[in-house]
């Protein structure tokens, strides 16, 4: 029976006809009560459960997922991992996530296929170059690796970009983060699930939360499609569905849900070994290990819970792609899909106790929370274990909207993902 994954176990299983692999995580029946419940089996929920067990020794924990784990945005995202943000608060949180990602495969004993292939955010004008220099300076002052790229540097890392003299979005340079890259989205969900389950966490799928149990003004548990489950503390990480659950808990959030779509081409031979983002087209592109060109763009402009995405936005994204990379004109698209993302006015996450005491929030990651999963999990776990913020999560509390201390990354780093 193979429990630990290694080159040796792979070899042995090969000899044994692959018959000894065990289920990666248990699927137990839900218990009547837990020390902590985490609602939502995306990356953030699963990571929360793992760090509760690993960092705080709290393993009587259940993750309650209405569908299948990773079936929300975590399994739908374009997997860019980076920490090129502007404000110190953001650098703390995304920097923590980035460092944890670098050790994650070892930590979880699960290959999340982190590929630090670097990412360039292009600058298309002299003015954008000035902003680029400011961003690079801010990142360096905050201790994040960043480099200002010349047009020649960009040509070196992305020679297939449209450098023709009549290009609509010419390259004046770019912001380079060498430690940025991609990771395997499913592996992040599955790796956390497996590691959490091995520490005693119950992963319960097909379990939708329909209501909260409130006693003495505090949240004490949840009603689910698989019965009533009580807990000392409850956390929720349900991304685009945060407002739906908040409504059941009796409060509103500063969130609008939108569809964010992405698409991939048929697999082709290696042609792009970095991540390229153009603020001019709003499109960013990478190539998966399988060879597919992975294409992402901006939000659909209509508030939505329909997990599919509409045509005008797809057209905008594809025309942007072809402007950036005319060579992709012959590519066939294979799949297109969307996830429902939780968009907050300042494009920063919400982490902290909700207006219903004893219910804790991890949401508002919008279009860019995959890269933050290890940090979101660490911070929600800390809140559930201690009931208190630490210095990293404090600025992201819901109270920033009343106090006016927004962390406006939409304006600061100007990148959506």
């Amino acid at each position: 029976m193979t429990r630990r994954y290694s080159a040796l176990s792979l070899f042995k299983e090969g000899l044994a006809g692959q018959t000894g692999w065990k289920q990666a995580w248990r699927s137990p029946e839900p218990k009547a009560s837990y020390d902590a419940i985490v609602i939502g089996g995306g990356g953030h929920g699963l990571a929360t459960a793992y760090y509760l067990a690993r960092n705080h020794g709290i393993a009587r924990v259940a993750v309650l997922e209405k569908g299948w784990i990773g079936g929300g945005n975590t399994g739908r995202n374009t997997t860019v991992v980076r920490s090129n943000y502007y404000y110190p608060e953001s650098v703390e949180i995304y920097g923590l996530a980035h460092r944890l990602y670098e050790g994650l495969s070892k930590d979880l004993n699960y290959n999340v296929m982190l590929s630090q292939r670097g990412m360039v955010n292009l600058c298309h004008s002299t003015a954008e170059m000035e902003i680029g220099a400011r961003t690079v300076n801010a990142m360096q002052i905050n201790g994040i690796d960043a480099e200002l790229f010349s047009p020649e540097d960009v040509r070196r890392v992305a020679p297939i970009y449209n450098f023709s003299p009549d290009a609509r979005f010419p390259v004046f340079g770019g912001i380079w983060q060498g430690r940025a890259g991609t990771a395997r989205h499913d592996a992040v969900a599955w790796g956390y699930a497996r590691a959490a389950s091995r520490l005693g966490v119950d992963i319960i799928q097909n379990c939708e939360i329909s209501d909260f149990i409130v006693e003495g003004g505090r949240c004490r548990g949840v009603q689910t499609t698989r019965g009533t489950i009580r807990a000392e503390r409850i956390g929720m990480a349900v991304a685009g569905h945060s407002s739906v659950l908040a409504d059941k808990a009796g409060f509103r959030l500063p969130i609008n849900s939108y569809a964010l779509q992405a698409c991939v081409s048929e697999p082709v031979k290696p042609i792009l070994d970095t991540v390229v983002l153009s603020p001019g087209t709003g499109v960013y592109v990478s190539q998966s290990d399988k060879g597919e060109i992975v294409i992402g763009g901006g939000l659909d402009r209509i508030p939505s819970y329909a997990q599919r995405g509409n045509l005008p936005t797809l057209e905008t994204v594809i025309s942007g792609l072809l402007e950036m990379f005319p060579i992709f004109g012959q590519l066939k698209l294979m799949r297109q899909w969307a996830g429902i993302v939780d968009v907050v006015p300042d494009s920063s996450p919400i982490i902290g106790e909700s207006p219903l005491p004893n219910l804790f929030l991890n949401c508002g990651w919008g279009t860019g929370g995959f890269k933050a999963i290890p940090a979101g999990g660490t911070l929600l776990a800390n809140l559930l274990a201690t009931g208190k913020h630490n210095d990293i999560s404090r600025p992201f509390d819901l109270d920033r909207f009343a106090s006016g201390r927004l962390i406006d990354e939409a304006a600061g780093s100007g990148i959506a993902h």
Partner: protein, 87 residues
């Protein structure tokens, strides 16, 4: 491509419209509005899954109006010019 009904111009491409927020989110008035009331007005959103009453603007004619929509199916339920009751 979806068609949205502008009460003034009739059915038009969705790309001609811009979302303007929850209908009925009225701006607080007066000098002593509590902080929470301001924060509610500025930031808190209903964001329903299902029927929503929303303000939209048709960017071609420039008119604001109220549209009722299902945010899950994208079905349009009604569209009407702004009434005197301040949406």
């Amino acid at each position: 491509m979806q068609l949205f009904p502008c009460p003034f111009c009739g059915p038009r491409d969705e790309t001609e419209f811009h979302y303007g927020g929850d209908a009925g989110n009225t701006r607080p008035d007066g000098g002593d509005v509590p902080i929470d009331r301001w924060a509610n007005y500025l930031y808190l959103r209903s964001n329903p899954k299902g029927t929503a009453r929303e303000i939209w603007v048709h960017m071609n004619c420039g008119e604001f109006f109220v549209m009722e929509r299902d945010t899950l199916t994208h079905k349009i339920l009604s569209s009407a010019e702004l009434g005197g009751e301040h949406a």
